[in-house]
């Protein structure tokens, strides 16, 4: 199929030419997904750490629910956020629908459970190791959670990457709440969906290649940051 060769040629051409539309779309994709990762980190990590360290009735049930929510279908999240943010919905007054804010909200909802569930797993294992030492030192629970998150920071970076991967790659949620509006809410994945629906498979694939390369670069950047810091300060 000549579409493959054509796609690589197009992808290279788009990047080489620093196509203004493409740069704008990439920029919005990164802003939306990175912000969603930030929100998910702020909400999901403490939640995961709490679930890992605090015993309360119903904890197992909550853990199961959070784990299950990792499989949230993006379209369902998109629909729920649409219904909430719609002018006919309870949060319509915010006027967030069809703006990047709506996309950030949807992606945050999508990946917070992923961050929380994986954080719980990592922190729980570390807490098991630290528990007796912390008990001996009478470390208060909040200090304990902060210390665990801080000590697990390199493993948690990988968790954030998992969340980022899910966010940057999903199309189902952002296309519903963002509307794929040119120059306003069009991101890489919705642009790919649009070009596919126009039958321009080569261009769609080219955008897909660019998206993959961006994901690769972000991962490489984070991993080299981690490797460097780890070498200096941690074993």
């Amino acid at each position: 199929m000549q579409d493959f060769a054509e796609a690589f040629r197009l992808a290279f051409g788009l990047v080489a030419a620093m196509d203004a539309n493409l740069v704008e779309i990439i920029g919005l994709s990164l802003r939306v997904s990175l912000t969603a990762v930030l929100v998910a980190a702020v909400l999901g990590m403490p939640l995961g750490a709490l679930l890992a360290t605090v015993r309360f009735p119903g904890r197992r049930a909550v853990v199961i629910v959070v784990n299950a929510l990792m499989g949230l279908p993006p379209v369902v999240v998109g629909l729920l956020v649409y219904m909430a943010l719609s002018n006919a919905g309870p949060l319509g007054f915010l006027q967030f629908l069809y703006t990047p804010a709506a996309m950030i909200i949807a992606q945050s909802i999508l990946i917070t459970p992923i961050v929380a569930a994986l954080t719980r797993q990592i922190i729980e294992e570390m807490n098991f190791e630290y528990a007796e030492q912390f008990a001996s030192l009478s470390v208060p629970w909040h200090t304990r959670i902060i210390a665990l998150i801080s000590d697990a920071r390199y493993a948690l970076l990988t968790v954030l990457l998992a969340g980022f991967g899910r966010a940057i790659a999903e199309v189902g949620a952002v296309i519903i709440v963002g509307g794929n509006i040119a120059h306003l809410t069009r991101v890489m994945t919705t642009a790919i969906a649009l070009e596919t629906s126009k039958g321009d498979l080569a261009l769609a694939l080219a955008l897909g290649i660019v998206l993959l390369v961006i994901a690769l670069l972000v991962n490489a950047a984070v991993m080299s940051l981690r490797a460097g810091a780890e070498r200096r300060a941690h074993a």
Partner: protein, 244 residues
């Protein structure tokens, strides 16, 4: 025996343990154990494997709850409030995934006494000042245990428990640790040391608690214990025989 007119452990002693029982997995690991510690200085806990030594110090430190019996530190019971004035060094040190200095700093901050001078003094005493910025988990076994001890002392405890702290260390590290223990004891810290090393016990102990099958078989001054153990079990143990 050392003469300690103003021991800092005075607020915690005497320790009175009566009828202590701890069961797990269907077997009784601590069985009607009675113990009274009145003297300051270094108490060494000895006994064969499985006697319940590690369990006993964890119970005394309040890390685990007994099913029955009582532990009473100078009339104040046992729990979070008594643990705050105590510290413990475990057989296998659990160091935070941070630098050597940050491990000690963590405890100093916890106790609200963050102080750079004190930090450096503790590291110097553990012979770790040169490695202050290195990752704690990259240290050798001996260095890790020295750091664990420095960290325990950072909280300025009245009572210090050590659970076989030198079990897998070389002679030099063992000596550094023993010196630090003796020094802490000299400052009036009550030491409760679990060890299998008879030589170490002889060097450090003021009194010896010998336990077997979850109960105290013998509690005597170190001189007397090592010269003439009263019990058959202790005699066998010291002679290197299998203790039944």
């Amino acid at each position: 025996m050392l003469d300690q007119p103003v021991a800092r452990s005075a607020t915690q002693l005497p320790l009175a343990v009566a009828g202590l029982c701890f069961r797990a997995g269907g077997s009784t690991l601590i069985n009607e154990l009675d113990l009274i510690l009145t003297d300051h200085g270094i108490t060494v806990v000895m006994g064969p494997n499985g006697a319940g030594k590690s369990l006993l110090v964890r119970l005394l430190h309040g890390l685990i709850e007994p099913q029955s019996g009582s532990i009473d530190w100078n009339g104040k019971g046992c729990g979070q409030h008594t643990r705050l004035r105590q510290a413990m060094v475990f057989q296998k040190p659990v160091l935070l995934r941070r630098s050597v200095a940050a491990n000690v700093d963590f405890v100093l901050r916890l106790k609200g006494i963050a102080d750079r001078e004190r930090l450096e003094q503790l590291l110097a005493q553990a012979n770790l000042l040169a490695k202050a910025d290195q990752p704690a988990r990259a240290l050798s076994g001996g260095e890790q245990q020295r750091l664990a001890l420095a960290r325990a002392l950072a909280s300025d405890p009245d009572v210090l428990f050590l659970d076989e702290p030198t079990a897998s260390l070389d002679p030099s590290s063992t000596q550094t640790i023993e010196t630090a223990i003796a020094e802490a004891s000299g400052r009036g810290v009550k030491i409760v040391l679990v060890t299998h090393d008879a030589g170490q016990a002889r060097r450090l102990a003021n009194d010896v608690v010998f336990i077997h099958r979850g109960a105290v078989i013998e509690h005597a001054g170190a001189d007397g214990f090592f010269k003439q153990p009263a019990s058959m079990a202790a005699r066998d143990y010291l002679a290197g025989k299998l203790v039944i």
